[in-house]
């Protein structure tokens, strides 16, 4: 069953590349059907994990340490659900939004390639396949950032590719060292070998290489240079994907999987991650205040929110991990929604500069209201989903006796509220710019996508009901708490 995630997305990409040039309808139909079926499949995967635990699929029938295997456990199922849900919503949104670009079929082809890569990263059971899928997703996203081929986009894409290529080299070097040390590529097997040989300098060197490599992919602060440019230059649908899932899947998922399940929890590395997360929160938030370009502001805000996730996960307590994963889910919902809103505003008015806007609330009521919900949610105002996850993170920090980190989290949240209030006030209230007298609300498909995400923001708190929590987040948390015992559950019958 697990290979279907590859087959559907890859086949959709090739079919669109083949026939998409002729008919636009085919393009739309294929991409929507493919993303919808991936979403349903990931729901089914979540159900299966809850029913029967870890699922291992051996490609070609070769048993795990020898052949390539795909692994579906609680954490993968959770990430799959987030990824495929957001990609389905973005595919709906792109129906109308991408009309203004020529060569729409190329967008869908690259989009499906990106989804293939990310599905591969999540399901990969050996570390080299993880790298290959990561590169598939990255290369597709490089091309998508440069999609408009204007001067700024090319410049951003160049910066992104250079940093991405350096990161990939670091990761590959780390994999090489790891292979030389343990002489296996299967993640579970590596974990066993390291547990056997103990933690020493080689592993520390590999860890540093991986933090640099995956840290660049997830835009933690010292490595964040590419993100504001790439996210603000790409088409809005693409930035929603980049910010909503790409940096999470390529960066956080791989980082957490490697440091929790393969190397085992180690205090030095957790400390480094906590510091990186705390710096990301503050630097991202402070840089975001000064921005007058809407998408650039959102991009800096992404850096800050990613800091929350890493900070919370690095506590390595059950509550911390729960809060981190919950915030990851919430962030992908409301940040995608905000990027889609920015795309809608750009679609209607044709400009992104906050100084030129004002009073759009009467003209675009749906965009205004959904954006209002997302802003309140991201700044952590009580009934919305963001509040619950930030509350969990702060409580987890206090529980782990890290009062300093808790204070940083609170401060970051207050700054977030400040700059989102600025955005709301400047765009939707105040005096209407006379140039925008004739604008209209955006087309149906864009409206639909925004409303679905907004409802999810509103209902985010529902996930706290224990019955749903058990299904949705608990399996993922338990996988991470399992630590290196992951190896035994994967290799299971073989050992």
């Amino acid at each position: 069953m697990l290979v279907l995630f590859f087959i559907i997305s890859l086949a959709a990409a090739f079919l669109i590349a083949m026939f998409g040039r002729k008919s636009k309808l085919f393009c739309h139909l294929t991409s929507i059907l493919a993303t919808l079926s991936l979403f349903l499949l990931s729901l089914y995967a979540l159900y299966l994990v809850n029913k029967s635990g870890v699922i291992v699929y051996n490609i070609g029938g070769w048993i795990p340490p020898l052949g390539i295997c795909l692994v579906l456990d609680g954490f993968s199922a959770f990430m799959l659900l987030v990824l495929n849900f957001i990609s389905f919503i973005v595919a709906i949104y792109a129906l109308a939004y991408m009309e203004k670009y020529t060569d729409k079929y190329r967008f869908y082809c690259l989009f499906m390639c990106m989804i293939t890569g990310m599905n591969g990263v999540i399901l990969a059971g050996d570390i080299f396949n993880l790298f290959v899928c990561l590169e598939i997703a990255s290369v597709a996203s490089y091309a998508l950032v440069a999609f408009g081929t204007e001067a700024e986009e090319l410049e951003a894409a160049f910066k992104y590719i250079v940093m991405g290529a350096i990161a990939a080299s670091f990761i590959l070097l780390g994999i090489g060292l790891l292979y030389a040390y343990t002489s296996t590529l299967n993640m579970a097997d590596i974990s066993l070998a390291i547990a056997h040989k103990g933690f020493n300098t080689v592993i520390l060197l590999v860890s540093v290489l991986f933090i640099a490599g995956f840290g660049t992919k997830s835009a933690l602060v010292p490595f964040h240079g590419w993100l504001p440019d790439a996210h603000s230059s790409a088409p809005a649908a693409v930035s929603a994907m980049l910010s909503g899932v790409l940096i999470k899947v390529l960066g956080i998922y791989s980082l957490v999987r490697i440091f929790f399940n393969i190397f085992g929890v180690n205090q030095i590395i957790l400390m480094i991650l906590a510091i990186l997360g705390a710096i990301s929160i503050l630097v991202g938030a402070i840089l975001a205040i000064g921005q007058w370009d809407l998408k650039r502001l959102l991009a800096y805000s992404s850096i800050s929110q990613i800091g929350y996730v890493i900070l919370s996960l690095s506590l390595a307590t059950p509550l911390g991990i729960l809060g981190g994963l919950f915030h990851l889910f919430n962030h992908s919902v409301f940040k995608s929604l905000l990027f889609l809103n920015s795309g809608a505003i750009e679609y209607a008015t044709g400009c992104r500069n906050l100084k030129e806007m004002g009073g759009l609330k009467e003209k675009m009521p749906i965009t205004a209201n959904t954006s209002w919900i997302a802003s309140l949610s991201i700044s952590g105002i009580p009934p919305f989903s963001g509040f619950w996850s930030k509350l969990l993170i702060i409580i987890a920090c206090v529980q782990a006796n890290r009062i300093g980190l808790a204070l940083i989290a609170v401060a970051g949240s207050i700054i977030t509220l400040a700059y989102f209030m600025k955005v709301q006030k400047v765009i939707f209230y105040g005096k209407l710019n006379p140039a925008f007298d004739k604008i209209k609300e955006v087309p149906v498909s864009m409206r639909l996508a925004m409303i679905v995400l907004a409802v999810l923001c509103l209902l985010g708190g529902i996930l706290f009901i224990p019955r749903i929590l058990v299904y949705f987040l608990k399996p993922a948390v338990s996988v991470l708490l399992l630590g290196t015992n992951y190896a035994f559950t994967v290799l299971g019958g073989v050992l």
């Binding site: 080299f128 290959v132 590169e135 290369v139 490089y142 091309a143 440069a146 081929t149 204007e150 001067a151 700024e152 090319l154 410049e155 951003a156 894409a157 160049f158 590719i161 250079v162 991405g164 290529a165 350096i166 990939a168 080299s169 590959l172 070097l173 090489g176 292979y179 030389a180 590529l185 504001p228 440019d229 603000s232 230059s233 840089l287 000064g290 921005q291 370009d293 650039r296």
Partner: protein, 112 residues
């Protein structure tokens, strides 16, 4: 052992080239050097003294094969490198179209 260090030196040369050069083409060359250094590192991992190519052949027993897995891995990594390189070169051509220069200090429309 010194071979591995030379390999890392090559990697550092590539990194230096990426970080310090101002010409886009030289940056691209630097990225390629880094990739090749990593590929070389993989080959060195798999090598054993007086090893043979990992091929079975008819009517003879092959002893002391080198490890075939790193070779297979770098085949894939070369393909990835090729695709990234092609994309970089295409974007470099387009950038030259728009800015009429290869100097990255003059390509600065994005700020902040």
């Amino acid at each position: 052992m010194s071979v591995y260090f030379l390999c890392l030196v090559l990697f550092s040369i590539g990194l230096y080239c990426v970080l310090r050069r101002r010409n886009i083409i030289k940056i691209i060359i630097g990225i390629s050097i880094m990739e090749y250094a990593v590929n070389l590192f993989f080959i060195l991992i798999g090598y054993r003294w007086h090893g043979r190519a990992p091929l079975l052949s008819q009517n003879q027993e092959v002893l002391r094969m080198v490890d075939p897995i790193p070779q297979e891995l770098i085949l894939i990594s070369i393909v990835i490198g090729l695709s990234v390189l092609a994309l970089l070169v295409a974007i470099a051509i387009k950038i030259f179209d728009k800015y009429n220069t290869f100097d990255i200090t003059k390509i600065r429309k994005l700020k902040g």
